[in-house]
Symmetry: C2
Subunit: 241 residues, 2 copies
Amino acid sequence: MNREKHISSAFDRDLETIEALAVKMGGMVEAAITDAATALETRDEELAEQVLRRDRSIDDLEQRLNDEAARLIALRAPTATDLRMVLAVMKISHSLERVGDYAKNMAKRTSVLSQMPPIDGAGLALRRMSNVVGKMMQDALDSYIRRDAGLAQDVRQRDLEVDQMYNALFREFLTHMMEDPRNITACMHLHFIAKNIERMGDLATAIAEQVIYLVSGDLPDDSRPKANSVPMADTDAAAGG
Amino acid sequence: MNREKHISSAFDRDLETIEALAVKMGGMVEAAITDAATALETRDEELAEQVLRRDRSIDDLEQRLNDEAARLIALRAPTATDLRMVLAVMKISHSLERVGDYAKNMAKRTSVLSQMPPIDGAGLALRRMSNVVGKMMQDALDSYIRRDAGLAQDVRQRDLEVDQMYNALFREFLTHMMEDPRNITACMHLHFIAKNIERMGDLATAIAEQVIYLVSGDLPDDSRPKANSVPMADTDAAAGG
């Protein structure tokens, strides 16, 4: 499935155009994650507002990528292998769009949370988690562009760390809520944000698994490490795939 | 975009095969929603276990649908219009798979919740919400098969009802948590379930919007009613699309 295997063709050039759109989307989504987390931590409602506004451009970019991909398929009638590439980049862009939605949701909650008493350490912990996920996202996209199954495997492994961060936060929020009922509403929102960041990690993992499938022809088996051992912790299914 | 517009061709027959897979998936997903909600309400861990097991078949069906669709595209080199149909049914099946994941997650939480003191009325409210969403799902899929934009519009409208049910539950869970800290853990799980059901509604709406796009060539404008007026309530973005 190496790019070198066939001579550069009109199809390849068109595909590269589409991939460039995906890379652009990836950059915007990564910025959205980082900015949303910073806005939350520093209670910067202006920055949160920017994240909300910019989500529209991410959605538009996905639409454009889909249109271009459909045009490519109709025009070039790609072989089964080439078609798989096009469908993969469409799926990847859809995952990116969903990550953008989660970042937007984080930004939306910032203005609500700014009205409430702060929860010790939550902003910092969530930003750290966002950083890990942002990097996973970037590497997953990189692994696609370079058809690098090794890097994709590495992204998959890192999802365990995100799951563990999420589980730790879940317990922490429970403690805050039990200690003081005035923390309950804020913790409900913070918990949602943590869960959404964890889902972003799942989506980055789904992209990485897509890359492994493209390169090797096999979807990874179920051996992906999931931190689900804590019975009281949240047990969400990987929403990706 | 009416099926009658072009003479039945090899493409049409192949597409119908793929659509039949989507309908089968839809039936399984609907059963998963209903059974997961019943299991939760009646604390039937055996039924919840069945939902978990059956999710694998839903995932397999999506994989098969994707393979068939890719084969169809590669084999028949469909026109732009026909291609749009194939891509739409792939998107729809992916939405169905995600709804299946949410149902699975509801089932997973059942065994955790069965160990905790019950929250008054929560099981009933969540089952009612699940029923509305299950019907939306069924109608969205029906609207696709019949290319019925009117029915698709109707599904879109009903999402408002789901959003309102969710907002009401969100407030109710907050009250339970503030009244008695021993309710906090159970309410966190119940809240997640409510949110996931609301997301299933968003996904049914995304399918309906796909149908409107197929039939009319336009994505609906942003006039979809969203029940986001309650400032303290949850403000999640429609994760679909």
